[in-house]
Symmetry: C2
Subunit: 345 residues, 2 copies
DNA sequence: CGAATATATGTATTCGTATGCTTTACAGTA
DNA sequence: TACTGTAAAGCATACGAATACATATATTCG
């Protein structure tokens, strides 16, 4: 094993051509299946295919990319690799990409501004044929600069991006939040609802906050400032921190709506660790329906999103553009949300 | 916004050179900081840097890769993107790669043979400077073929790979399993221990199974065939399936050791759904210590691995080779395991 | 003051592939 | 027989950057 390979480099088309006794372009034509109006004799074709087999030739994508100006790669930037919400998205995108014979570069921004910018830099230096991302801090201008510079198709999650050439996949989370709050009040009978959100500068923040406000108003409830927090950052740990603050107060809302499941789970775990019961002492509702929502006890009542659907829409929208089936201006693709009543609220 | 860019393509070195009134190679030399013994006048250097700024020039990595035969990319193949065990690994590898100015291609095998092979094919076609992977089905021969063909450094998780040029990161999971079982018997006082494993053809299977056997033997316990199953496949769902089978039987071991946390959690959830109490009716222990282990109630007693450490060792071992600091034959890097007693056993 | 030596830059070529254009060989036609 | 058409394959070049080699100018020294 591992005897130092005599000709250490992988074979090239030239090697194949030499072995088959033809020229390199002829090999190229055979392998690319006569795209332009050429014709190759069956005999030559066979010789070449045999040579390919014998040498175990594989085309070099780097060279091909340089020549064709296409990389056969797409880039994906997600906001948090640890958040299970993104896993099905990443997986589906990979599956679709593979069907189209594309590879995927994955980057992880951790919700950080500098990481998002670095990602754009990276895909400028290493041209890809398409970009899917979850921009939290990037603005329309940032994205526009990238597009005018590279002419690369871009698809995003998040309605806040409004660029004429960028397809958007989103869920109407404002409406979903409204429905969740309304349901807590009307169906579950809670007389007050607390809100555990994220700072307004994160895009989904304002939408969900307004959904909450609207529902409260419509139910004739006043929003208690004490029952509202914007100190979440999408992580479980931020949920625990918020719970610790809550424990220091003396009056609680009967139920708290958290803008994502991880934060909701953090709340529950910390409250339970302090000896309180969910939902008896306080109920908790989340948003996303990640797998952990069905692991925690009590199982988490939540507003489900459809990450597989989201991922598929993202990928298909992107390949529609990469492969030229779609050339018009931006499309907005909405994915449904669905209330999942469980035991936590 | 998005006015169709007049010169739609990103600028090249040639453009920069023209604007600065010099030749393309001069630009190359300035940007690569005089690697070969060259000297550039300060004046020229400044002109070029200005031109670079004005045109917002970014080097094209594809062209550079073709010329230098280096891609500035590494490829990572993990076994299951949904398994939280791999998240810190992927994240650390990305962080280290970024420090070295490398991008990362991530692939997900889902433990499937064909996906693993497809991955190798992909990194043959698209040369990368290094490969990190978790091979489940790939053999030494497969890996050897890849290495002799591409001369690419490879680092793996999993002691089963024994290739003279492949660094291995692993945990002594045989020993760890032995210790876990022994601890259950000696410290926790269980009189019998069930085993929920995976088929022997998955590499960690035999190691952990032998650890279990050894511990049982040493404790003077006989292994009850009824208490042993190899029907797991690393997923939570396979844990639920196993629990359903268990529920059909009428006698249970007092505790079951599962070879990973996801499977252990599947067991617990299904047993609880059927009305049984963990650990009172039956105790469960896992392996890995993924975040979900601290979410489920009761919290999961488990044998922790150190994925951050594993990821860092993998990445650093790889860059040691990519950057030529290490040229010798294979190194074996061991990561510790640590028993984490919680409530489930 | 002419030759040797730095110094600064340009020229030509290369990486592996794709593709427009040209050439060759031969069959068919008038 | 001379000419045209077509199938088959070769030739030349381009993609963008890196680099070995050549060249031109300025500097230094005997």
């Amino acid at each position: 094993m591992s005897k130092p390979n005599p000709n250490s480099k992988p074979p090239t088309m030239r090697d194949v051509a030499r072995l088959a006794g033809v020229s390199q372009p002829t090999v190229s034509r055979v392998l690319n299946d006569a795209s332009t109006t050429v014709s190759i004799s069956e005999e030559t074709r066979q010789k070449i295919l045999e040579a390919v087999k014998e040498l175990r030739y594989r085309p070099n994508m780097t060279a091909r990319s340089l020549r064709t100006q296409q990389s056969q790669m797409i880039a994906l930037m997600i906001a948090d690799i640890s958040n299970a919400f993104y896993h099905p998205i990443a997986r589906v995108i990979q599956d679709v990409a593979r069907q189209h014979d594309y590879d995927v570069i994955i980057a992880n921004s951790d919700h950080r501004d500098d990481n998002e910018r670095h990602f754009l830099d990276a895909v400028i230096r290493r041209p890809v044929d398409g970009v899917i991302m979850v921009p939290i801090h990037l603005t329309d201008e940032d994205i526009d600069r990238f597009i005018t510079l590279t002419q690369t198709p871009v698809v995003v999650i998040g309605k806040q991006i409004e660029h004429p050439q960028v397809d958007v996949v989103w869920a109407d989370d404002g409406k979903a939040t409204y429905e969740a709050i309304t349901w807590l009040i009307k169906e579950r009978g809670y007389s007050q609802v607390g809100y555990f959100g994220i700072p307004d500068l994160y895009p989904p923040g304002p939408r969900r906050w307004r959904g909450y406000q609207r529902a409260m108003e419509q139910a004739g409830l006043t929003i208690e400032p004490d029952y509202v927090s914007f100190e979440g950052d999408f992580t479980l740990e931020s949920g625990r921190r918020a719970a610790r603050k809550l424990l220091a107060h003396d009056h609680w809302p009967p139920v708290i709506f958290a803008v994502n499941d991880l934060m909701a789970i953090g709340l529950i775990l910390e409250l339970q660790d302090a000896g309180y019961s969910v939902p008896d002492d306080i109920a908790i509702m989340g948003f996303d329906d990640i797998p952990e929502a069905s692991i925690i006890r009590p199982h988490l009542t939540t507003m489900a999103q459809t990450p597989v659907d989201i991922g598929r829409k993202l990928a298909e929208a992107l390949f529609d553009r990469i492969e030229g089936r779609e050339t018009g201006s931006k499309r907005i693709l909405e994915c449904p949300c669905r209330l999942v009543p469980r035991q936590s609220a």
